[in-house]
Amino acid sequence: MTEKSIIEVKNLIVQRGKVTVLDIRELSVGQGRSLSLIGPNGAGKSTLLLTLAGLLPLNKGLLLFAGKPVNDRTSLAMLRRNAAVVFQEPLLLNDTVYNNVALGLKFRHVSSGEISRSVDEVLNYFGITHLVKRSAKTLSGGEAKRVSLARAFAIKPRLILLDESFNALDPPSREAIISDLQNILEQTKITAVLALHDREDTLRLAQDVAVMSAGKIAQYGTTAQVFNHPDNEFVANFVGTESILEGIVKTVSPDGMVMVAIDGKIVEAVGRFCAGQKVYCCMRPENVTISNNIQGKISARNVFDARVNKMIRQGFLYKLILDCGFPLVAYITPPSCEDLGLKEGVRVMASFKATAVHLMKREK
């Protein structure tokens, strides 16, 4: 991350009572980057967001906004004026949509003409111009969410902090809001920290991701780094690498091909390991190809004869639990499923590239 950092924490400790809820050695979000915080409930995502917004006191450590330490009233006011938080609940006032969206600007004593222009602009952004005169209490969940987003963006913040907030919405509104938010983040190049629940939302809205666990950051990097190369089993499990298998490195070729034995089968992977090492083999379900028993047409290094043990409908896809001598999970679209005549008990070919296998060191 070479960009100038907008928000940064160093050796941060936040305690609630005597319990340490956040313990972060270092985290820095560069100008225009969008960072997603993911992790199980209670991992400290929301607490970290509030801390970054300057709304929670630090017990130890340093918070820096635009490179300057936030340590007195002036710098705290500076941070709060430039950061906007969108909470899980819309938290709208019992007032019109207009007055709700104008709230932050009124706090800044912006002239009413200016407020009117900014509110119009941001309502337009979120496609809710028609709601301007409505009472906030009469809005649907999706509309209220849009108003709360508009209210945050109305102050033209340098930093937006967004708590996972789409879960309560019905799928179409959720999809529409995320898509709008994606556009706005891309257009405005606002620095964003998003506590998201969902891996797909993360891929759409963020370039970077930090996986949190028990108040600590388990791994931090670009989405590609973290999702494809999890540092440890916890991260791997959490980012949705469905197949995590224990194996032992058998042989390593000079060009970096690693042969890993898993339950008597050999999986080819790429990486720097030595023979005899204990490893985890991670295969993401979207990297597995399913085909009929026509051999010779598959370029992937790993081809296995597999039995379909289970088919689970998951949203728009089927999740296949395969038995290739070791368990493997794959996603497949319903049309492909039909073409291949898949049902439970059928035998298919499962293949994946050597580069799609992510190896991690295993201690035990």
Partner: protein, 232 residues
């Protein structure tokens, strides 16, 4: 039964004829209880909000005390105020015993915990994140408190009604510190007590009805304000 009918007829006679004495008593009741409610609002809303928004050692004890104060017996308040402003009392130099001022003080003491307790509950009842949300939009502390009070205006108006209702109908303290002096500190409740004592039930009933109408009108007005906010 005849007594009640007579009382009602008398009440309407007194109201329609604009009897100057009854009018004076009614007006004084309204002034004293209105002023007392206003004072209790200033103290009650600000203190209630402050207690709701700050964390300190013994907060629960303070809240319990305020809630107990909501049921403060008027005669106890009357006794306390009388002792304080008695000629030889600590505040005797004010020389306000048996004046409307003493009644305002006593009624304000009765209404303040009611307003304070309801304000406190109203502010506490707002989502705890709302406060952070408002701060995160760049509000200063005063701006934040003001937005919260506006957001809680529905229960706060209920606090006004409860406070006013408590003091307009109160008699013990008023009689003790006001003395029920004709044309000076006589209010609807103290006059009702006196007329009942004298056996003038028709006038007593009339005063009672006027008191009810007064309470109704004030609450009707406040309810209008409250519900208009709600409907928008």
């Amino acid at each position: 039964m005849e007594l009640i009918v007579q009382g009602i007829i008398k009440a309407f006679e007194l109201i329609i004829s604009f009897d100057p004495e009854v009018l004076g008593i009614t007006w004084l009741s309204l002034k004293i209880s209105g002023t007392a409610t206003f004072i209790s609002l200033l103290i009650g809303v600000s203190t209630g909000t402050a207690v709701a928004l700050t964390n300190f050692r013994g907060k629960k004890l303070v809240i319990s005390l305020i809630n107990t104060g909501m049921g403060l017996p008027p005669v106890v308040v009357g006794l306390f105020v009388t002792i304080m402003i008695w000629r030889n009392g600590p505040l005797g130099f004010l020389e306000i015993l048996y004046t409307p001022y003493a009644m305002i003080v006593a009624q304000a003491i009765i209404a303040t915990p009611i307003v304070m307790g309801i304000s406190l509950a109203a502010i506490q009842n707002l989502s705890p994140n709302l406060r952070l949300q408002i701060l995160s939009l760049g509000a200063g502390s005063l701006q934040m408190v003001w937005v919260l009070i506006k957001e809680a205006k529905l229960p706060l108006l209920a606090a006004v009604m409860a406070g006013f209702g408590g003091v307009i109908s109160e008699v013990g303290a008023s009689i003790m510190v006001g003395g029920n002096i004709k044309g000076y500190s006589r209010v609807l409740t103290t006059a009702t007590v006196m007329e009942t004592g004298k056996g003038n039930f028709d006038i007593a009933i009339a005063l009672g009805i006027i008191l009810l109408i007064l309470a109704f009108l004030v609450n009707f007005l406040l309810t209008q304000i409250q519900q208009r906010q709600q409907a928008r």
